[in-house]
């Protein structure tokens, strides 16, 4: 029904799912788009399962709502996560083969968690690094099927390929110096010319682990797009959801104010800005300080943790050793320290007046038993006078220009009347 508003030509999928599956006749029930369900094949390569755990913690929307199909307008997600099938597993792997042969009853998406192992190295020794399922070669012989091979087999027919987490997007920790597996990310493996059946490039949702909501929200938005309801979500030049990853984590950092006032902690546990104990936030694209880690709670710098750049292609080696101050911070924090010291002083002065009821200021008395009231000095008063001049320049100070009506009203309350 929402499709009526726009012509199919406006939907930038020329051979996309929306066109292929759109029902021809008017359905009896309200329909929000062509998709009633969509398969998701979750492949775990060299992963720690942390991305899966993070996604299971998502609340916007929650994973179980996607799986049970209770979100109005979104298709039900049929998740094929690597499982121990009760029926000795052949049925589970059969779904992968069906997808490969194009025999599923609905389009499918491939999600890849973990790094891609260079299986050529292991194969040279007759082995593997990372596998999902195995092919029976007869007798006692089995060939474990490398997860990488599954990606290669399923990617061409996928409506979308989503790399989840920093291992899948950029190689991550298994690709760190010293690794024996020549690990890499999905883009490195499939290459820049890869397109899904809906014409999408590889979608990258980085983070180690990613914020669960960043994943479920992106999936939800892509599905709304495929339903013809939502816009094509914007992705940046590295395939990251632009609305989530365009800004640095520093720009919305809860400690950004400390930075701006030149207040830096030098010890772990301090409440001030963390750059001098090794935080890389000012150059890292991430949204955890505004979104939180789970259900809007937590977040690295929110709780005192430094940013180690875990969403970035350079992670981990370009941010190591951790807890070592980034060289760039030397310049910026010293510059901001000079500015911050001055501005902080002026703000404290303003705060002194803003911390007084007008009545207290007039009486030069604060009726609080919690501490002694320090009278502002003459110089402070003078500066504050100028400050207020500026504040009300071109406008009025509340109470200065009382209307006749308010004067009368005030009179009623006056004990002298």
């Amino acid at each position: 029904m929402f499709d009526e508003a726009r012509s199919p030509a406006e939907i930038p999928t020329t051979d996309g799912v929306a066109e292929q599956v759109r029902p021809k006749s008017v359905p009896a029930e309200l329909s929000f788009g062509p998709l009633e369900k969509i398969h998701v094949f979750w492949l775990a390569g060299m992963s720690c399962d942390g991305c899966t755990i993070a996604v299971a913690g998502a609340t916007n929307p929650p994973l179980e709502s996607l799986l049970t199909g209770v979100i109005t307008g979104l298709p039900q997600v049929i998740l094929h996560h690597p499982v121990l099938a009760v029926e000795a597993g052949k049925d589970f792997v059969e779904n992968f083969y069906m997808a490969e042969r194009g025999e599923l009853d609905a389009p499918y998406v491939v999600c890849y968690e973990g790094s891609i192992a260079d299986e050529r190295i292991a194969a040279a020794h007759g082995g593997y690094w990372s596998a999902l399922g195995s092919e029976h070669l007869g007798g006692d012989k089995h060939r474990p099927i490398p997860t990488t091979e599954w990606l290669k087999r399923l990617a061409p027919g996928a409506a979308a390929v989503i790399a989840v987490g920093t291992c899948a997007t950029w190689g991550g920790i298994p690709a760190a110096a010293g690794n024996p597996t020549n690990a890499m990310g999905v883009m490195d493996f499939l290459g820049k010319d890869y397109r899904s059946t809906t014409g999408l490039n590889i979608i990258n949702i980085p983070g180690c682990s990613p914020i669960g909501d960043n994943f479920t929200e992106t999936v939800g938005m892509v599905l709304l797009f495929l339903q013809g309801i939502g816009p094509l979500p914007e992705f940046d030049t590295l395939g990251r959801p632009a609305w989530l990853f365009n800004d640095t984590v520093h720009t919305k950092c809860v400690r950004g104010g400390y930075y701006e006032e030149g207040n830096f902690t030098s010890e772990y546990g301090g409440k001030e800005c963390l750059v001098e104990i090794g935080c890389w936030g000012p150059v890292v694209q991430c949204n955890i300080t505004s979104r939180g880690a789970i259900n809007h709670m937590g977040g690295c710098m929110n709780t005192g943790g430094i940013c180690i750049g875990c969403t970035m292609p350079g992670f981990p080696d370009k941010f190591a050793p951790f807890y070592q101050m980034a060289p760039g911070s030397n310049i910026s924090s010293n510059a901001v320290r000079a500015y911050g010291a001055a501005i902080r002083r002026l703000r404290r002065m303003t705060m002194k007046f803003q911390n007084m009821e007008p009545r207290w200021e007039e009486n030069e008395h604060v009726p609080s038993g919690w501490g002694a009231f320090e009278k502002p000095s003459i110089a402070t008063k003078a500066i504050h006078y100028l400050y207020q001049k500026l504040q009300y320049a071109g406008t009025v100070r509340p109470g200065d220009h009382a209307s006749p009506q308010s004067a009368k009203a005030k009179g009623i309350n006056s004990p002298e009347v």
């Binding site: 992963s47 399962d49 996604v55 474990p144 997860t147 920790i173 940013c307 180690i308």
Partner: protein, 633 residues
């Protein structure tokens, strides 16, 4: 004298020394004695039977083959005699964490090793920090220790319910019970639940219905509670998995009263939740035992388990190896090695000395050939003898190759204690603490020697006293039941720590970290800690300020381990070989393997969102995932 097989004796002061007069003391050719050994049929006999008999069936749970979680299981079932005659556990993933750690700044260990496992996402960070502190010679301030204890507890409060209701739980749900044992389901409908007043289900059948994946209230409630615990976790950890606030010498958490408040609002929900969880698993266990006593043999093996203990006492813990026996025994969960049901030691040093790793059936090369000469570390820092197979002497030499049931078939190694097969689990902490009577006085937890008594205070529900008794048989059901009691144990340990934290604030002891410099001399250290599924250690060596060796032993490595140097099976394999096949099936093709799956899952393989619905098949299938950290180091 806790060692039966290792060549270690103790002098009159209890100091360990190497037994004299043995030419090759650590050779794996030396005979050993073991408790509760499980034998399987010879390889060739199994092959003959497979070729001849229709009822001997290969049951490869090879779509288990997943990666990350990466557990595959090969079994041969005798469906007529209803037992397993061959069992092989396979870890199918290698990433090389131990190698990646080499040549790095030791501070990197906290963040890098965390990524070994995203299910037990925070425990590696803490374990690395503990080892670094020992190597650096620094001690965290009391509040830093409390924050770490709370991080661990909150992680378990997400992790163990996840297992009990999202992973193992569905095995006991109406959906699965009805499909695999219809007669048992009929009994369940008619069986009143003993603890109905505590959990609210009048019959076992009603309880099982609410354990149905995705639709059952107990399933959905557990998923919700995992989020509640994680919300509290990220208040002090920043994020989960892979926290951001662990540092050498403490934590970098900014702790205020808001921190304590936001944690407590969530922690407190687990007091009532524990009352429910414990009584549900009591009732389920009793139901299965009564319905068919053969269930006592499901997943049965000798009660041999080892744990280092967790949750440090901020007044005692000093991060030194020299004092590890003292601070170890002061942990809320007492360290211990239980062999064949007997607690043989609570001494952290002895537990450490007893650990060895073997690779006869793993895709690695031997680094030592058992030679005790010229070892990097012939002794520990206190002068006690170390095996060439001890983690401090171990090297990681990966060697991928083809799968061969008689030779090498897994990426997991075979950790053994005193050369005996043991298992790891949250239940090991419950058992050790119950048996040891070492727990320091506190309002909530008491050890009687035979049981662990826990007082769950009033919240919305009234106060409740529960008691976990050391069981006479060790099996699938007792693992799950002890894990359920472990939730209550964890909640009350956390309450103790939460109160201690407030007390520290009262005293003005607000420091959470201590200063350090990275030493340039040769140092060794070890972190003794635990994951939601048990036992965790990081052994490390530093030189000139960089890591020269890093060795991780994890619970799933232990439980999923293959045969060892003496061809003795790992715990999964043993437990499966002891499991009777009680599933009801009309023809062999419909055999699903539920008894084996219950067995494997009782060790706490871990993975969320364990359910999906097959397109067109109406079969609910669950995922199993051993903790990823078990697979490699």
């Amino acid at each position: 004298m806790c060692f039966k097989n290792l060549p270690i004796e103790f002098d009159s002061a209890g100091k360990p020394f190497l037994k004299g007069g043995i030419r090759d003391p650590y050779s794996t050719r030396n005979a050993i004695t073991s408790v509760g050994e499980v034998k399987q049929m010879p390889y060739d006999t199994v092959r003959e039977l497979l070729a001849r008999n229709g009822y001997i069936k290969d049951v490869d749970f090879d779509p288990v083959t997943r990666v990350a979680g990466a557990l595959a299981f090969h079994g041969v079932a005798d469906l007529e005699n209803r037992k397993f005659i061959e069992a092989r556990s396979m870890a199918t993933l290698f990433r090389g964490y131990e190698l990646i750690m080499q040549g790095r700044d030791p501070r990197d260990a906290i963040f890098i090793t965390s990524r070994a496992c995203g299910v037990c996402g925070g425990v590696h960070s803490s374990c690395a920090a503990l080892g670094i502190e020992m190597a650096f010679g620094i001690t965290p301030p009391p509040l830093g220790i409390i924050v770490r204890n709370l991080l661990l507890s909150l992680e378990f409060l997400y992790d163990n319910p996840l297992h009990l209701f999202l992973l193992a739980g569905p095995d006991y749900s109406e959906m699965i019970v009805k499909a695999t044992t219809p007669s048992l389901w009929e009994k369940a409908i008619g069986t009143p639940a003993r603890n109905a007043e505590h959990h609210g289900y009048a019959t076992i059948g009603a309880l099982m219905t609410d354990m149905n994946p995705l639709s059952g209230n107990l399933y959905l409630e557990a998923l919700h509670m995992t989020r509640v615990a994680r919300e509290a976790y990220v208040v002090i950890g920043g994020k989960y998995p892979h926290p951001e606030t662990l540092v050498p010498g403490g934590v970098s958490t900014t702790v205020t009263l808001q921190t304590f408040n936001e944690i407590y609002v969530r922690l407190q929900q687990f007091f009532d939740y524990s009352k429910k969880v414990v009584t549900i698993w009591d009732d389920l266990t009793e139901f299965f035992y009564t319905a068919n006593p053969e269930y006592r043999k499901n997943g049965m093996r000798a009660a041999s388990m080892v744990d280092f203990g967790i949750w440090d006492d901020p007044d005692v813990y000093d991060a030194t190896y020299e004092n590890c026996n003292t601070w170890g025994e002061n942990r809320w969960a007492t360290p211990g090695a239980v062999i064949g049901g007997e607690l043989v030691t609570t001494n952290l040093q002895n537990i450490n000395l007893g650990i060895e790793e073997f690779i006869e059936h793993s895709f690695y090369k031997d680094w030592s050939n058992g030679d005790a000469n010229g070892l990097a570390h012939p002794t520990d820092p206190s002068g006690a003898p170390l095996s060439p197979y001890h983690p401090w002497n171990k090297e990681t030499l990966p060697s991928p190759g083809g799968q061969n049931w008689r030779e090498k078939y897994t990426w997991a190694t075979s950790p053994r204690w005193d050369r005996q097969v043991f298992e790891a689990g949250s239940y090991a902490r419950v058992w050790n603490t119950a048996a040891a009577q070492k727990i320091r006085p506190n309002p909530f937890i008491e050890s009687t020697g035979e049981s662990l008594k826990i007082r769950l205070p009033k919240a919305a529900k009234p106060e409740m006293n529960i008691e976990w008794k050391i069981p006479s048989v060790w099996n699938t059901f007792e693992r799950n039941r002890a894990r359920a009691y472990g939730v209550a144990f964890t909640a009350m340990a956390a309450m103790n720590d939460w109160m201690k934290g407030l007390d520290l604030l009262k005293q003005g002891k607000t420091a959470v970290s201590t200063e350090f410099e990275i030493p340039k001399t040769n140092r060794i250290g070890v972190g003794f800690w635990g994951a939601g599924r048990g036992f965790l250690s990081h052994h490390m060596e530093l030189d000139k300020g960089i890591v020269t060796n890093y060795q991780i032993v994890t619970p799933s490595t232990i439980n999923a381990s293959p045969m060892d140097a003496w061809d003795k099976h790992g715990p999964y394999e043993e437990a499966v070989l002891n499991t009777p096949i009680l599933e009801e099936f009309d023809k062999q093709e419909n055999y699903k393997g539920i008894d084996l799956l219950r067995t494997l899952r009782s060790f706490d393989p871990c993975m969320p969102c364990t359910t999906h619905i097959y397109a067109g098949e109406h079969t609910v299938v669950r995922e199993i995932n051993t903790c990823a950290c078990g697979v490699d180091g």
